[in-house]
């Protein structure tokens, strides 16, 4: 990697100031994407601002929301009794991200800010109608994801937590692994909660995570795998690569949706 200066601020204000001081400053969360990118010299930051010292890790359950701090590791979400009870599909999703090492370093805030089109978390956040809380404002999931590796975050804006509205009656995630990387070739999160019935798809869309509204309508009428079995997703809007054509991905969306619905009970 290229040389940079490393900073580990202990307050959000200091972190924002450091990031704002230089256009080439970059934030480091869990580093599970960023560090490999640096090692491949694909990014040349002037400063790397480590967010691990901001005290943003932690999970809290109130009456009407499950709040997960931005620096919370995937393994902690997967292992949390509160998450497992309140939104079992979210805990299961976190437990299937990457491998054991990734789950002990990667964070929810880092995953969402990066918005990799094949990442798992965006599908849960969108399907559960969560709110992304930053140092400046609260952003609804529907407004947050704006295409591949693009979010509503502005310069100097740091995710501090993610708030999932409760109660969630049903939640599950079904993921079809890209065989080599084990990112989602297609991942489908289904949920029934305060935001209504939602189906969010990751890995497949040319513009990153998206809602499958035809499936949402069908499931609102009847929550069962059969309800979505005949619903197809237009291949024209989907990714195609050596691991899966757009047609294959379109097919897998329906299969994974059925499996997620079945798993959600």
């Amino acid at each position: 990697m290229y040389d940079f200066t490393y900073h580990r601020p202990t307050s959000v204000a200091d972190a924002v100031a450091l990031l704002g001081s230089d256009a080439d400053a970059k934030a480091l969360a869990g580093g599970q994407t960023f560090i490999p990118v640096l090692k491949q010299r694909l990014n040349k930051p002037s400063k790397v601002v480590d967010l691990a010292g901001l005290g943003l890790a932690g999970i809290s359950l109130s009456g009407n929301a499950l709040v997960i701090g931005a620096s919370t590791r995937h393994a902690d979400v997967a292992g949390s009794a509160d998450v497992r009870r309140a939104i079992p599909g979210l805990a299961a999703l976190a437990g299937g991200i990457g491998d054991n090492q990734v789950r002990h370093r990667g964070t929810i805030g880092g995953s969402l800010a990066n918005n990799d089109p094949a990442a798992c978390y965006p599908s849960a956040v969108l399907a559960l109608g969560a709110t992304i809380v930053t140092n400046k404002r609260s952003i609804a999931a529907d407004d947050f994801f704006q295409g591949m590796f693009t979010t509503a975050l502005e310069a100097g804006e740091i995710i501090t937590s993610v708030s999932f509205p409760l109660p969630v009656a049903k939640s599950a995630y079904a993921k079809f692994n890209q065989p080599a990387s084990r990112f989602a070739l297609v991942g489908v999160f289904v949920a029934k909660g305060p935001a209504g019935v939602r189906v969010a798809v990751t890995g497949a869309g040319q513009n990153g995570v998206f809602r499958q509204r035809a499936m949402e309508a069908a499931l609102t009428a009847s929550w069962s795998p059969d309800a979505v079995a005949a619903i197809t997703t237009p291949a024209a809007d989907l990714n195609s690569d050596i691991h899966g054509s757009a047609e294959y991905r379109a097919h897998l969306i329906t299969v994974m949706a059925k499996r997620a619905i079945a798993a959600a009970g």
Partner: protein, 792 residues
């Protein structure tokens, strides 16, 4: 000590240091004052180099030197040599274009090294490399053999018109044609064997060093340090052998990819001489993808002529083999003498003809990879046999049995040069079918169907050849090296033993198995035997480890050296015990006078040899230290039967190997635990080839699977529990009766897996499927061929 000799499952002596992180790998070695080399590699598949400007790089902080191909040309340094020469049908030698250390004039594949930057730190070398300007004129590139052979295809080398390296043949074409003319039926199959990236866990690394007297040392990740010394010293850098030491310390996996002499080794050694400073290079993983020799990559047509009962009358095979952009060290031998000579397999096909065209393309050079030619032959043959069963309606197992070389037919001369010494294919087949509960398969298929899964079973009755030999025959076939092995057995004065072997262990566990052979023969505990390999300064000579040769050839040399130790020990014992040497017996570590209770321990004899106070000094030299060179009479021929059972998820096309049984005849087993591990690893690689792995190139030669993000290695959850069984017939021509086990897993398993998938897809009208059988490929078949799906 408990029993530690041949057949004991002794725990691996070397694992303590590996598991504790105390191995000594090349990258662990640091020499005082070393500089770091970084290679600027071509990002173009095929281009003319118009201009290289290294001025800014040379002036960058910490940079010690910047070298290009011109520096090697100026020094009169030729290219990397090829170790095997093939002659074409017309008698002409193969095209053997230069393989410069750094590109000269053109780049020929993505990853071709162009400039080397040497700096005080790795980081500085890499920083400086970014300042190098190279102007290229892109030329048309090709990745596939089919494209490279098209008229007008870009020419990789001017010396190879039509991109053909050689057009070789073996067998009696006229006899084959006559058999086809009279055949009741001919079954044909077109198939490919997918290109693989070896991906040893340890990336390659090299350190060159030169002292004030001009003595060089190269530390390198090699499977055969003496071969590297010979190739690099004699043919590239012209360093006399007594002034060049090559050390291959702990090496973290090779699978063939660390046999060859690579450009980076030559560069660090040459530059160390120029700079009189050690030069170190360690590959990054992405460099490994584009610079370690790849494996396989064949396109073939196979045809079998049959009589009315399904007996094989004649086999005709035509293969196009991708050589990549340059000839790697042993590349020409792989699709010829390690492939076409194996096309008889376990079958008594009376006549065989094969032609192999080797083709240059703009891809990473292709060379031997675990199995080397034999997996390609086995995949072709075992798929063809299943296709014959499909077309004729004869049961797959019955068809094999009908054509097996019977157990009483050995030694058996095949029509493609090899003579098998021993084997019993019916026994391994029957044992594998029993262990796999073949009889219970229909019930398992039914249970799977109830779950919406397609279940299939496939078998492969394979044969392979290990320990390529003898030297004279290999030489006649084009080898530019001998194929013997060397062992030096040094009995220390207190009776412990140090073995110096010319083979090399990079995962195989030789430090344990070779010690067991010593324990068996000399009665010395395994803990008192040290096995040394991987250093040309310590080991008399050796050809290294590849082709599953170590125990068959290196182990035989060890036995021969120990025979000399025992013979000398008897003479010492005869003196001490005042008996005739003919009356001395050696057994269980004791020299005794036959029929008496008079004896001397092995340790007492060793001490006497080194403290010769009471010694037949007039007729016998002191010391107990013997060396043997062993040149085998023949290859060894492991064979066996692999049974794979798969389940296919009809909705997604995902294939899971749910059962795997391997029953291998590998001759005498030295350590059953290590044998099991070798088979496990080989089968995992075979499943990887069958289901997952594909070195991807676009049509023009750009790599599309250049990292683990896109190149799918098999992981633990892709591999089922593997049942390993052994059924031994002994090799008849080596002293241990051993055959070799390193590659059987990777050779036997791919066709078993594909045969199982084709079986599972039987109702979809599928006759053949090329590897890898990815979920997308299977899904496409399910979509296209399943009229029932719409109704469901």
């Amino acid at each position: 000590m408990g029993f530690e000799g041949i057949g004991a499952a002794v725990k691996r002596k070397e694992d303590g240091r590996f598991l504790a992180g105390r191995g000594n790998y090349v990258d662990d070695i640091n020499r005082p004052g070393q500089v770091y080399a970084y290679f600027k590699r071509s990002d173009r598949p095929h281009a003319r180099i118009l201009r290289i400007d290294t001025a800014a790089a040379a002036a960058a902080p910490g940079v010690v030197a910047v070298y290009t191909g011109a520096d090697f040309a100026a020094d009169g340094i030729g290219g990397l040599p090829c170790g095997w020469q093939i002659h074409s049908k017309d008698g002409s030698p193969m095209a053997e274009p230069p393989h410069p250390v750094l590109a000269q004039g053109k780049v020929r594949h993505v990853g071709d090294p162009v400039v080397a930057v040497l700096a005080e730190t790795r980081q500085q070398a890499k920083d400086a490399a970014e300042l190098i300007e190279i102007d290229y004129e892109d030329l048309p590139g090709t990745a596939s053999v089919l494209d490279a052979l098209k008229p007008g295809a870009g020419l990789v080398h001017d010396e190879a018109p039509g991109n053909v390296c050689y057009d070789w043949q073996i067998g009696d074409r006229a006899a084959v044609d006559a058999a086809f003319a009279g055949a009741a039926r001919v079954v044909r199959l077109d198939l490919t064997n997918n290109r693989l990236v070896p991906n040893a866990m340890e990336p390659r690394a090299a350190i060159g060093e030169c002292d004030v007297a001009g003595n060089y040392t190269l530390y390198t990740t090699s499977q055969n340090p003496h071969v590297i010394r010979l190739l690099m010293g004699a043919f590239v850098l012209h360093i006399p052998e007594h002034q060049l030491r090559v050390v291959a310390p702990d090496v973290g996996g090779g699978f063939g990819s660390k046999i060859y002499h690579y450009a980076e080794e030559a560069l660090v050694t040459w530059a160390a001489g120029k700079l009189r400073r050690p030069v170190k290079w360690t590959a990054e993983r992405s460099e490994s993808f584009m610079s370690d020799a790849h494996g396989r990559d064949h396109v073939s047509t196979a045809e079998m002529a049959l009589d009315a009962e399904g007996h094989f009358l004649a086999l005709k095979v035509s293969t196009l083999a991708n050589m990549g952009a340059y000839l790697s060290t042993f590349a020409p031998a792989v699709p010829t003498y390690l492939y076409a000579t194996l096309l008889a397999g376990v079958y008594k096909t009376p006549v065989i003809y094969a032609e192999v065209k080797a083709v240059f393309t703009n891809t990473v050079p292709v060379d031997a990879y675990r199995g080397a030619g034999r997996p390609e032959a086995t995949f072709l043959l075992e798929r063809l046999v299943d296709a014959i069963a499909h077309d004729t309606g004869i049961d797959r197992i019955e068809l094999r049995r009908r054509n097996f070389i019977p157990a009483n037919a050995f030694p058996y001369q095949t029509p493609v040069a090899l003579q098998y010494d021993s084997g019993d294919y019916e026994t391994t087949l029957a044992a594998a079918l029993k262990a796999a509960d073949h009889a219970g398969f229909p019930a398992r298929r039914q249970a799977a169907a109830a779950q919406g899964k397609l279940r299939g079973i496939g078998i492969s009755t394979y044969l392979e050849a290990c320990g390529i030999a003898p030297s004279a025959v290999a030489g006649a076939l084009g080898a530019r090296a001998g194929l013997y092995e060397v062992a030096n057995v040094r009995v220390n004065p207190t009776g412990s033993v140090t073995v110096f072997t010319g083979t090399h262990s990079h995962g195989q566990g030789h430090e344990t198995t070779f010690a067991q052979v010593v324990a068996e023969q000399l009665g010395v505990p395994v803990s008192q035997v040290d096995v040394v390999h991987g250093d040309t300064a310590r080991i008399p000579f050796g050809m290294g480890t590849y082709g599953s040769r170590s125990i068959a050839v290196g182990g035989s040399a060890l036995v021969k050296a120990m025979d000399k130790i025992v013979a000398k020990g008897k003479r010492i014992a005869a003196h001490l015990l005042e008996a005739s040497v003919d009356d001395i017996e050696f057994k269980d570590g004791k020299f005794s006078v036959a029929g008496t209770d008079k004896s001397k321990t092995f340790g007492e004899i060793a001490l006497t040899a080194y403290v010769p106070h009471n010694y037949p000094i007039e007729e016998l030299e002191p010391g107990l230290d013997e060396t043997a060179f062993y040149d085998p009479k023949n290859f060894t021929f492991p064979g066996g039967c692999h049974v794979a059972e798969v389940e296919i998820d009809r909705e997604t096309g995902v294939v899971r190997v749910v059962n795997f049984t391997a029953v291998d005849d590998i001759g005498r087993v030295i350590n059953p635990m290590i044998v099991e591990g070798q088979v496990h690893g080989g089968v995992a690689q075979g499943i990887g080839q069958a289901l997952l792995e594909q070195a991807g190139y676009d049509d023009g030669g750009q790599i599309v699977s250049g990292s683990f993000m896109d190149y799918t290695m098999p992981r633990a959850d892709n591999v089922p529990n593997i049942h390993v069984g052994t059924e031994s017939t002994l090799c008849t021509h080596n002293p241990l009766g051993v055959k070799g086990v390193g590659e059987v897993g990777a050779i036997g398993s791919p066709p078993a897996v594909i045969n199982a998938i084709v079986d599972a897809l039987g109702t979809y009208g599928i006759r053949h499927l090329d590897m890898p059988a990815t979920s997308q490929k299977i899904w496409s078949i399910l979509q296209a061929g399943a009229p029932r799906m719409a109704a469901e």
